[in-house]
Amino acid sequence: MSAITAIQLFVFLLAGFVGFQTISRIPPLLHTPLMAATNAISGISLVASLVLAGGHHGTFATVLGTIAVACATTNIVGGFLITDRMLAMFRKTENTKNTAGSK
């Protein structure tokens, strides 16, 4: 195993911990927007698709790359739009009437 792979494993381990810590704090209220959000962010695989599509490694690789670019872009554009649309719907009670009971 190369040194680079070892560093990648460290990065993966730490990112996994950050993920578990961060996402555990997200209330069920926002679990659907969370899913849409991770979907949008995971469109980051576009960066790999871009390098494949624009790399000129023969028609086969270019076609695969271009389709991958289209798929990833779809997720980025659609994902961020729908997440924003959803989050815009979440509003607090407007009047300051005291609501007893739970938080």
Partner: protein, 463 residues
């Protein structure tokens, strides 16, 4: 030379913004701004990548980006909130497809150049294995949720054995190409088997279990991205994939808990097929159901001080979110206090019901999670159960013979009185009888949820 440090630094900034965005999702007030930062981070990462020296032409990229934007816009702006589960399943398929195609492309390049080494092929193999089973699995989930395929689990003999054999075969192919990286036919066979596995695993999962499946596929899509990162030595893919994988994992655990099922049970169980145990529970649910008229129900609600509305999937099916919100408004106008009790599996995906009610202008501080609201039922005058069944079934707490025994439920029967809006006398999704309906405190109001609510609202206005 400049790009060698500039691109990783841009990725570092993007990664930072993504993590900040996920943190901001812990509160509705900060969530929207956080996601806008993440979108900015995405632009930074993509623009930086365009400076990569390996990119020699931009025409193909432009074509892909234009097609993606044209497809993405309607998927973002036009899809209704009720269709959110299939919308998410669909984009899991797209994300996984992108990862799979990149994996195949990179393998092909390495094969041609003769540079394939075991390490890289391990990553590429995992990437296409996870990616391709997520593609077909997500399309299956999408088809079931969209109603293109029947939602029932499709079960045939030796199904589990067959699935496990296919899984073993795919893993064997993976080990083979790690040993012999240039064995392209084996690589192709592995993709074929993985595509088949995705179909076979999801085909046997019923509609009610879809929240777990969608979350699980989310996790796989993330892990496929991690493998891509390892294969092309890109840290931002590893980090984002890990975040995505963690998110999917946490959500599927939360959903499994809410349904009182283990992972293995969801994947190998086929809940719709359970029938033996429900005989025992149907005996338990004996007694008379008392029916209430709309007028009486309206009177009771109009003079109640504390009301909790329990929305179930039946509410979403009959598109009655707006009428439910109107009911809450009318009661509040008369001085009553109204809250909505949200069970984790009230919708068809994690948090779905919250979004549907938020869309109907219910303020989010009135949407209370199960754990927080359960202790408040005892001080509640009237609980209105709308199109929910299993999630309010007290048998889950009291009857060990019931198939849903142990599932966390809303303790509706602690309230002083209960009104259940229900289409007819049928059973819930799991086919289990509900003791709540024969409880002396419970009154049944039969009819379509939406129509019943419209009638109720008219009557309350006249009180």
């Amino acid at each position: 030379m400049i790009t060698n440090t500039f691109i990783p630094l841009a990725y570092l900034l993007s990664t930072f913004l993504f993590i900040i965005a996920l943190r901001s999702l812990s509160k509705p007030e900060t969530a929207r701004r956080g996601m806008q930062l993440a979108a900015f981070g995405m632009v930074v990462a993509v623009v930086a990548t365009l400076f990569n020296a390996k990119i020699v032409s931009y025409e193909e990229i432009l074509i892909g980006v234009v097609i993606g934007s044209i497809l993405g816009y309607p998927l973002g702006m036009w899809v209704p909130m009720t269709a959110m589960p299939q919308r998410i399943a669909f984009s899991h398929a797209f994300g996984a497809l992108a990862a799979t195609l990149v994996g195949v492309g990179e393998y092909y390049i390495g094969l041609k150049a003769g540079t394939l080494a075991s390490g890289q092929v391990t990553a590429l193999g995992l990437e296409v294995l996870l990616g391709s089973l997520t593609v077909t699995g997500s399309f299956m989930a999408f088809s079931k949720l969209q109603g293109i395929l029947p939602g029932r689990p499709l079960i045939f003999p030796f199904q589990n054995t067959l699935n496990l054999l296919f899984l073993a075969a795919a893993v064997a192919c993976l080990i083979w190409i790690v040993m012999v990286p240039t064995a392209a036919p084996v690589f192709a066979t592995m993709i074929g088997i993985s595509l088949l596995i995705g179909i076979l695993f999801v085909i046997r999962i019923g509609g009610a279990d879809m929240p777990v499946v969608i979350s699980l596929l989310n996790s796989y899509a993330g892990l496929a991205a991690v493998a891509t990162g390892f294969a092309i030595n890109n840290n931002i893919l590893i980090i984002v994939g890990a975040l995505d994988g963690a998110s999917g994992m946490i959500l599927s655990i939360a959903m499994s808990k809410a349904m009182n099922r283990s992972f293995t049970n969801v994947i190998f169980g086929g809940f719709g097929a359970v029938s033996a145990a429900s005989d025992a529970s149907s005996v338990a649910a004996s007694g008379e159901m008392s029916v209430i008229s709309v007028e009486d129900a309206a009177l009771r609600l109009a003079y109640a001080a504390r009301v909790i509305i329990v929305p179930g999937y039946g509410l979403a099916v009959s598109q009655a979110q707006h009428q439910a919100r109107e009911l809450a408004d009318l009661i509040e106008k008369r001085g009553g206090d109204v809250k909505f009790a949200i069970h984790p599996v009230a919708g068809r995906m994690p948090g779905h019901m919250n979004v549907l009610l938020a869309e109907a202008n219910v303020p989010y501080d009135k949407l209370i999670d199960m754990e927080d609201i359960n202790e408040h039922f005892s001080e509640t005058d009237v609980v209105v159960v709308i199109g929910a069944n299993d999630v309010v079934n007290p048998a889950a707490l009291t009857n060990p013979a019931s198939p849903i025994y142990g599932m966390p439920v809303l303790k509706v029967s602690d309230a002083k009185s209960i009104i259940v809006l229900k289409r007819g006398q049928g059973k819930g999704f799991s086919g289990v009888e509900n003791d709540l309906f024969v409880n002396p405190k419970t009154s049944m109001l039969y009819g379509d949820a939406r129509q019943s609510l419209i009638d109720l609202n008219i009557q309350i206005k006249n009180v």
